[in-house]
């Protein structure tokens, strides 16, 4: 290959909307693995990608981060200018025009809410400011009356989506969207999808525990270890990912302790208090948003009801550790390589 040919290919790849794949035909180059990480969505997002040449792969990874940052900007409830914040500010007032991605995500969220009998609910955020996790202030318990009042504002059925008009509306004042239980899974998959659309076949995108895989890692599939929620320095087991996503909800990273009792950040939308049935749930699903939202919803439901929800779904695999420390598997459970329970 002459340098001239290589340069031309690079130029084409940089300019065309859907460029030739990294590792494009005709220009053999030796494959590299790049791993890059950025702070995003209050956590660390990591992209691992295989391909060549390295400079082009680096550029593609930058583009994937830019796309994920764009989506995080739309979906953040903390940034006052985001589409989601706009919907929140207009709760009970009027429908708000939102980008297609926001509608898509809210529609997916509603499906998971229906499936989990409201155990996953994006309107949980009406309760959010009552509970302070990971903040700097002293931990406190919210007044029970206030929890009761806010709980009445948690109602996914009162999220009104109008796809033809491209609007979203929260029917009652005081309602609030919080996409923390679904956005990271959605965004990790979007990052992976963007890379594939630009010719990078082998990709793993991890937004902390929400991971989306495409292609393979060389001569084997991508392999993900599942942290043991009972002993987080150890693994519960491993699983191979084939063009799909995996997410975990656990109660051991964000919590506070009052009078010896631990209050963690995954609230049961129906009670307004931290869910108590599980300590950790991992879900594999074809779509990142589904994996993320189901992990939250099944965590709240607990082992028995979770098993019922995914019983006949060949596309979803679940590992759930109950409050008693017992490990349960459900759905296409044969896929997990679990270690013997200690």
């Amino acid at each position: 290959v002459t340098p001239g040919v290589g340069l031309t290919l690079l130029a084409i790849a940089a300019l065309a909307p859907a460029p030739e794949p990294v590792r494009a035909g005709g220009a053999p180059c030796s494959e590299v693995v790049l791993e890059r990480a950025r702070p995003m969505m209050a956590t660390i997002v990591t992209v691992t990608a295989r391909g060549c040449p390295a400079e082009l792969l680096e550029e593609r990874i930058r583009e994937a981060f830019a796309e994920m940052e764009r989506l995080a900007g739309l979906l953040s409830e903390w940034s006052p200018e985001s589409a989601v914040s706009l919907v929140n500010r207009n709760a009970g007032l009027k429908p708000v025009r939102v980008p297609g991605e926001v509608l898509e995500l809210l529609d997916g969220a509603a499906q998971v809410s229906l499936r989990t009998s409201g155990s996953f609910d994006v309107t949980w955020a009406a309760l959010a400011d009552l509970w302070r996790f990971g903040g700097t202030g002293a931990p406190r318990l919210p007044p029970p009356d206030e929890v009761k009042r806010r709980r009445a504002l948690v109602a996914f059925r009162d999220v009104v989506l109008d796809p033809p008009a491209s609007t979203a509306f929260l029917r009652r004042p005081g309602m609030r969207l919080g996409l923390g239980g679904i956005a990271k899974g959605y965004i990790a998959e979007a990052g992976a999808t963007l890379l594939v659309s630009r010719g990078v076949r082998d990709v793993l995108v991890a937004a902390s525990g929400d991971i989306s895989a495409r292609g393979r890692n060389g001569d084997r599939p991508w392999v993900v270890a599942i942290r043991d929620p009972r002993e987080p320095s150890r693994a519960l087991g491993t699983v191979e990912l084939h063009d799909e996503s995996i997410s975990t909800s656990g109660d051991y990273e964000q919590f506070f302790v009052i009078d010896g009792r631990r209050y963690h950040h995954i609230l049961d939308p129906r009670t307004g208090y931290p869910a108590t049935a599980s300590v950790g749930v991992t879900v594999i699903a074809p779509r990142g948003a589904d994996a993320d939202a189901l992990a939250t919803g099944l965590f709240v439901l607990g082992p028995e009801r979770a098993a019922t929800v995914v019983r006949d779904d060949p596309d979803v695999s679940v590992v759930l550790v109950g409050r008693d420390g017992q490990v349960h598997v459900a759905g296409a459970s044969h896929r997990f390589q679990l270690l013997a329970s200690p």
Binding site: A42, G134, G209, S233
Partner: protein
């Protein structure tokens, strides 16, 4: 130059005790943050007592280290584009090393993670960790000896990035003031 390099080596976090996850090495940071084709020079910013006070006030934490290594990044033609600061920030758990890129106009160019330290012990990526599988599932060659590409677990919250950005911006401001003072 040697002195600057030595200072840098001394100030940088003991990068990569073996199990740390290293995403970006210092020589690759300018390109990763500012794009291909850039050049860079290592240098050290010596803060005066007044500048140290100013910095502490701006970032909201007492800063005591007076010597700050940085990389001055320029285009292929030699025009100064901005600076990269390598900052080790202690958050709720273990320190994370960030590369904060600031443009000459004082705005953030980009932030990336250089070294991430697993809060639960890095054994999850280690041979020792994999031995768990060998010991208990010796009859399942599918798992034994395989590498692990990622770990899924409860979301780890990192608010230290905001601090890294604040500090990077404040340091760039000090550099910008010095440049202003030098120009006619």
């Amino acid at each position: 130059v040697k002195l600057a390099a030595a200072l840098l080596a001394a100030t940088l976090p003991a990068a990569a005790a073996r199990a740390d996850q290293v995403f970006l090495r210092e020589p690759d940071a300018p390109r990763a943050l500012f794009g291909d084709g850039v050049r860079f020079e290592r240098s050290t910013l010596e803060l005066s007592a007044a500048e140290l006070d100013d910095l502490s006030r701006r970032v909201g934490r007492k800063v005591e280290v007076r010597q700050v290594p940085f990389l001055a990044v320029s285009s292929g033609s030699g025009e100064l584009l901005g600076w990269v600061f390598v900052l080790d920030v202690v958050g709720q758990s273990l320190p994370i090393t960030f590369a904060v890129g600031v443009k000459v106009d004082g705005r953030v160019q980009d932030v990336q993670v250089m070294v991430y330290r697993e809060p639960h012990g890095s054994e999850i990526r280690e041979r020792r960790f994999r031995a768990q599988f060998a010991g208990k599932n010796g009859d399942q060659p599918l798992v034994v000896g395989k590498d692990i590409d990622a770990i899924t677990g409860a979301t780890i919250s990192s608010h230290s990035a905001a601090y890294a950005v604040r500090k990077g911006l404040a340091l760039a401001e000090i550099l910008r003031r010095r440049v202003d003072r030098k120009s006619p």
